[in-house]
């Protein structure tokens, strides 16, 4: 009998496969699939709204509506690259996080150019004002800089709860090779993240 950890991993794997199939059906032009995908991607505007609230509403409702459209367009353009290594809503939420942070940064910069006094009076909260978001951004940026295959193995291990065996199957490598990539990735992240985390603390 499989352990609860394995059962959880199997459940996640099934959900990822279902999402992958849904994306393929959508790209094949199935109109029913679009309706189902809309339910899964309905998280996009809501995630943006939550991020905006958490960070003191640096963007207006109109900005959020525009950004939501932009992100859906962006996601649509990348759908063909979705391989089901994450669930579709998790995958989409990373676009939301990244684009939201970029948008706030851009708005802050525009504000500083056009209204230096108001900016000086902190009219627009800086994107780095929330410690959680700073840490998440640091980790996500670190994984991007690390690159595959190490970043893929680490994401699948810690964000998708996969076993080294299923990671190996997905990447067509042995579980032991997946472990090697995992250790190298963690060692690299330690060298790159720990000094930055120390800077943040001081």
């Amino acid at each position: 009998m499989s352990s609860s950890k394995e059962q959880k991993a199997e459940k996640f794997a099934r959900e990822r496969q279902e999402d992958h199939a849904l994306v393929k059906e959508t790209l094949a032009g199935d109109p029913r699939a679009v309706g189902k995908l809309a339910i899964r991607l309905g998280c996009v505007p809501r995630v943006l709204g939550i991020l905006n609230s958490r960070m003191g509403k640096p963007l207006s409702d109109h900005d959020i509506a525009d950004l939501s459209q932009d992100i859906l367009v962006l996601i649509w353009g990348k759908l063909a690259t979705f391989e089901g290594r994450a669930k579709i809503d998790t995958w989409a939420s990373r676009f939301c996080f990244r684009e939201f942070m970029n948008s706030v940064r851009r708005k802050g910069r525009d504000m500083a150019k056009s209204h230096p006094l108001e900016t000086a009076l902190a009219a627009v909260p800086a994107p780095d004002s929330s410690p959680d978001e700073v840490r998440v951004k640091m980790v996500q940026d670190g994984l991007t800089e690390l690159g595959p295959p190490e970043s893929e193995v680490i994401r699948m291990k810690h964000f998708e709860h996969q076993t080294f065996k299923t990671i190996g199957d997905a990447l067509e490598i042995s579980p032991n090779t997946a472990k090697t990539h995992y250790y190298r990735g963690i060692a690299w992240l330690r060298r790159h993240l720990m000094p930055k985390a120390e800077e943040e603390r001081t």
Binding site: A38, C43, S93, R135, Q140, T144, Y182, Y183, L193, M194
Partner: protein, 240 residues
């Protein structure tokens, strides 16, 4: 099977320690840690990295859970309407739907496009303004394709990025550089920020750290933040 036999090298042993499969007090574990020069402090720092990864995962999951619970704001209908317009190519900001036309259809499509261009030219349509003219009239056509992207293909170094298009009034360009082997959810390796000229020369010290094979995209925005032009290219330099 002994612990040593289960692993091919000490890196795998340390991965097993980090994942709690193997106790750091195990003889095989202690030997591997010693051979790799990893002390208790080092192991603790790696565990701290793992804790940060788990915290990031929790943050993402909590965010999605909160999003599930939200009852207000734009509904599924709006998302569905956007997706349907994207699927049918009727969204104002849409590129084409992602599946590519089969190669056997390419020639007839190109021939039809060429015929259309000829008719347009004979009709003097080329005397009208550029597609990116800031008037907003061409927005329904979707983004235009930005041409003459450099660097492209095999190059000695990435050097200066350039492309050929006009800047929309009040607009800007933005270049995003990705690892060619990027995952869909990976952020870019580098971003130009807002550009007012169709060139960008990132610092050589910075580009040196980039992957050897890159995919880069340029977007032209108008003053309303609408994407008016889009271009993409792959470039590759020799390995260091």
């Amino acid at each position: 099977m002994s612990a040593r036999d289960r692993y091919e090298n000490r890196e795998q042993i340390i991965a097993a320690i980090l994942q709690g499969e193997l106790s750091p007090q195990d003889d095989v574990a202690r030997a591997a840690l010693a051979e790799e020069g990893i002390h208790v402090d080092d192991l603790a720092e790696m565990q701290a990295v793992i804790a940060e990864l788990e915290a990031t995962n929790l943050y993402e999951q909590k965010l999605l859970k909160e999003a599930d619970a939200v009852q207000t704001g734009p509904g599924i209908d709006e998302v569905e309407s956007t997706l349907r317009r994207l699927q049918t190519g009727k969204h104002p900001k849409v590129s084409k739907p992602t599946p590519q036309a089969p190669v056997r259809l390419l020639f007839p499509i190109l021939a039809a496009a060429a015929a259309l261009l000829l008719v347009a030219w004979l009709g003097g349509w080329f005397s009208s303004e550029s597609p990116i003219d800031g008037s907003g009239n061409n927005q329904l056509l979707g983004p235009t394709t930005i041409q003459s992207l450099l660097p492209s293909g095999a190059v000695d170094d990435f050097g200066q990025f350039s492309f050929d298009t006009d800047l929309a009034p009040g607009g800007w360009f933005e270049i995003l550089v990705y690892d060619r082997d990027f995952e869909p959810n990976d952020p870019p390796v580098a971003s130009s920020g807002d550009l007012l000229v169709p060139t960008w020369a990132p610092d050589a010290k910075v580009t040196k750290e980039w992957p050897e094979k890159i995919h880069w995209e340029v977007r032209s925005y108008d003053s309303s933040r609408v994407v008016r032009g889009f271009g993409e290219a792959d470039a590759e330099r020799p390995e260091h």
